[in-house]
C-alpha cells in the first residue's frame, strides 16, 4: 500500500436551512478544498463522495444527483453510505483509491441537506428500524439514543449533569469555528432545563439539524510532497459494523468502535492510544456519545471518563483535547458532512492552522471517528505529521 496524505480541506458554513441545493453545497466545499492546495479539477483523478439517507432529499440515488457538484463529471466516482458513519467512511474509501496505486489524487466530498424533509428530518429515521418486528411499535430515532444513554449512565453511575457537561464543553469549542451555526454559550443548567425530549435526552443534549458540505483532497506521497511541505498523513483506517439486532448487544459499550479503532491503530503502529494520540474528534451527536466513543476508541478507561472530563483532561489545554472543532454539538450536524468536518479539523490542527481553536503544544497525531446506521457502524481515521 502506498502512503496517502491529506493536502487540502474545505467546508461550507453549517446552517439550519441553506439556500443552496445539495449539488451547490458539494461544489462550494469542493472548491474551497481544491483552492486550499492550489489544484483544479483537472488535477483530480477520482472522486469519493457521501451523503446519508436519500429520504432527506426525496431524491432517489442522490449520489448521482450530487455528482456534478463533486467534480465527478466523466471521472471514476463512487458513493459510500453508512448513515452517520458516512463522513469518515468516505475518507477511508478515498484512501483506498490512492493507497492502491490506482490514482494519485482523490477528492472526498460529503454533503447533507436535512431541511428539505417535512415536517422534520427525524421522521425519516423511522425506516431504519426493522420493518416487521419493530416498526409497528412506532419507534422514533430518539428512542435508541435515549435507551443507549440510559444504559450507559446506569452502568457506570454517571448522571445527567455529567452528560450535560460533555455537551457544554464541546459546544463551547464550536463558538470559535467560523462554520458554526451557533453563537451563544450554554451552561450545564441550560442543558438540564431544556425541554425533556426522551428521558434522559434533553433538547440541548442533542446536536442540531443542519445543512452543509465538507471536502478533503487526498494525494499519493509523490504528489503530496510536490504540493505542500506539510502533508497530513493518513496513518491508519478502520471500520466495523456490528449486528443489526441492536437490542441483543449491551448498549453500554460501543463494540463497533472498539473493533474499528484497533484496526486503525494496528495500521498506524499505535500501541498506547491514550498516550500516542494528541487530539481526538469522537463522533458527538449527543454529549454522552462523545464519552461513549472515547471509551470505544481506547482513549479513556471504561467508567472513568466523567472523572477525566471533570478534571479538564479533554479540554483544549488538557492532556487529550477532544472535539476542538466544536463537533456536531457545536458546529452543526449535517450528517455525512459532519464526519468529514472532523477530518478537516485534524488537517488544520496538525498543520497549526486552526486559528483561535488551535490546540497548544504542536499536536502531531489525531484520530477522528464517525458512527451511524442502526447504532452499529464506526469508521476511524488516524492522521499524523
Amino acid at each position: 500500500m502506498r502512503k496517502v496524505a491529506i493536502v487540502g480541506a474545505g467546508m461550507t458554513k453549517f446552517v439550519r436551512r441553506a439556500l443552496e441545493t445539495p449539488k451547490e453545497l458539494s461544489y462550494q466545499a469542493s472548491k474551497v478544498a481544491l483552492d486550499s492546495c492550489g489544484l483544479t479539477l483537472d488535477d483530480v483523478d477520482c472522486i469519493a463522495h457521501g451523503t446519508a439517507p436519500d429520504a432527506f432529499d426525496g431524491l432517489h440515488q442522490n449520489g448521482e444527483y450530487m455528482v456534478d457538484g463533486c467534480g465527478g463529471w466523466n471521472k471514476p466516482t463512487m458513493r459510500v453510505y453508512v448513515g452517520g458513519g458516512t463522513g469518515i467512511h468516505a475518507v477511508v474509501h478515498g484512501w483506498h483509491h490512492v493507497a492502491s496505486g490506482l490514482f494519485d489524487t482523490c477528492l472526498v466530498v460529503c454533503e447533507e441537506k436535512m431541511s428539505s424533509a417535512l415536517p422534520h428530518a427525524q421522521a425519516f429515521f423511522l425506516t431504519i428500524f426493522d420493518s416487521i418486528t419493530e416498526r409497528s411499535l412506532e419507534p422514533n430515532l430518539l428512542w435508541i439514543f435515549a435507551l443507549e444513554m440510559n444504559r450507559y449512565m446506569e452502568r457506570y453511575g454517571y448522571s445527567k449533569e455529567d452528560m450535560a457537561l460533555a455537551a457544554v464543553k464541546i459546544k463551547k469549542n464550536g463558538l470559535k469555528h467560523p462554520a458554526s451555526q451557533f453563537s451563544e454559550e450554554v451552561t450545564v443548567q441550560d442543558v438540564l432545563d431544556s425541554e425533556m425530549m426522551a428521558y434522559p435526552v434533553s433538547r440541548l443534549d442533542v446536536s442540531p439539524v443542519s445543512d452543509g458540505g465538507a471536502a478533503v483532497l487526498l494525494a499519493s506521497e509523490r504528489v503530496a510532497r510536490r504540493l505542500t511541505d506539510k502533508p497530513v498523513w493518513i496513518e491508519g483506517v478502520g471500520w466495523s459494523l456490528d449486528t443489526a439486532y441492536w437490542a441483543t448487544r449491551d448498549l453500554y459499550y460501543p463494540r463497533y468502535t472498539d473493533t474499528a479503532a484497533r484496526m486503525a491503530y494496528d495500521m498506524a503502529g499505535i500501541t498506547e492510544p491514550d498516550k500516542e494520540i494528541h487530539i481526538a474528534e469522537p463522533y458527538d451527536p449527543f454529549g454522552y456519545k462523545a464519552l461513549h466513543h472515547l471509551e470505544g476508541l481506547q482513549l479513556s478507561p471504561r467508567g472513568k471518563t466523567v472523572e477525566l472530563l471533570r478534571d479538564g483532561h479533554f479540554d483544549i489545554d488538557g492532556n487529550l483535547p477532544i472535539c476542538p472543532s466544536g463537533g456536531l454539538l457545536g458546529v452543526g450536524n449535517p450528517i455525512a458532512a459532519a464526519g468529514t468536518m472532523k477530518v478537516c479539523e485534524l488537517f488544520w490542527q496538525l498543520r497549526g492552522e486552526a486559528d483561535q481553536r488551535q490546540v497548544p503544544g504542536n499536536p502531531r497525531r489525531g484520530v477522528a471517528q464517525s458512527w451511524g446506521d442502526l447504532m452499529q457502524v464506526s469508521s476511524v481515521v488516524v492522521t499524523g505529521i
Binding site: M11, L19, T133, N140, A146, E154
Partner: protein, 171 residues
C-alpha cells in the same frame, strides 16, 4: 498560511426569507406503500405470538438461544433449526420516557409519554433483548433491572404481530 479560506458558502435562510416569497420552493408529497413478506424465521415467530407464545431459535454451535428467531446464526453462519419456547417475562435492560412522536411532533398535554424499553426475555440467552414498550406503570417508577411480564391482546384480536403483546407490565 493562516489567511487561507477554509469556509465558504452555506447561506442560512430565515423563516421570513421563505414567507416573504424571496426564496422559491417546489414541493412534492410522496405516498409510498410496501408489503413486507415476513421471512422464514419471523413468520414462525409471528405465528407463535398469535398463539400467545414467544419462540426463539438456538444455534447448535454457539448454543445461543436467540430472539428474534433467525434462519441462520449471524455469528457462526450456520442454519438454526432448533426452535424453543421462551417465557413471556423478562427484565428491563434499559428504558426511556419519550415525549416526542415518531415525526418529532410533541405529545399532547393529555397524552401519556411513550415508554420504550429493551427487555431481556427469560429463557433466551443472557442479553437477548427485544424492543417493546412498558405499560401499567408510572414513568418515575421504572427501573433498569425490574422484572416485567407481557400483557397480551385477547386471542381473537391477535393478528400475528409484535403488537399482539400490548406492552410489558411490572411483575
Amino acid at each position: 498560511m493562516q489567511d487561507k479560506v477554509k469556509v465558504a458558502g452555506g447561506t442560512g435562510l430565515s423563516a421570513e426569507d421563505i414567507s416573504s416569497g424571496k426564496i422559491f420552493l417546489t414541493e412534492d408529497s410522496l405516498d409510498c406503500a410496501y408489503a413486507w413478506d415476513t421471512g422464514v424465521a419471523i413468520n414462525r415467530y409471528l405465528a407463535e405470538l398469535k398463539k400467545g407464545r414467544i419462540i426463539a431459535t438456538q444455534c447448535k454451535k454457539c448454543r445461543r438461544i436467540m430472539l428474534p428467531p433467525r434462519l441462520f446464526c449471524e455469528l457462526c453462519f450456520i442454519p438454526c433449526s432448533d426452535w424453543q419456547y421462551v417465557r413471556d417475562t423478562g427484565i428491563v435492560n434499559t428504558f426511556s420516557i419519550c415525549h416526542v412522536h415518531w415525526d418529532a411532533s410533541r405529545i399532547g398535554k393529555d397524552e401519556k409519554p411513550h415508554l420504550p424499553a429493551v427487555i431481556e426475555i427469560d429463557g433466551a440467552s443472557p442479553g437477548m433483548g427485544i424492543m417493546h414498550i412498558l405499560g401499567e406503570i408510572e414513568p418515575e417508577q421504572i427501573k433498569i433491572g425490574m422484572k416485567v411480564k407481557a400483557v397480551w391482546k385477547a386471542e381473537e384480536e391477535r393478528s400475528g404481530s409484535i403488537t399482539d403483546i400490548i406492552h410489558f407490565k411490572p411483575l
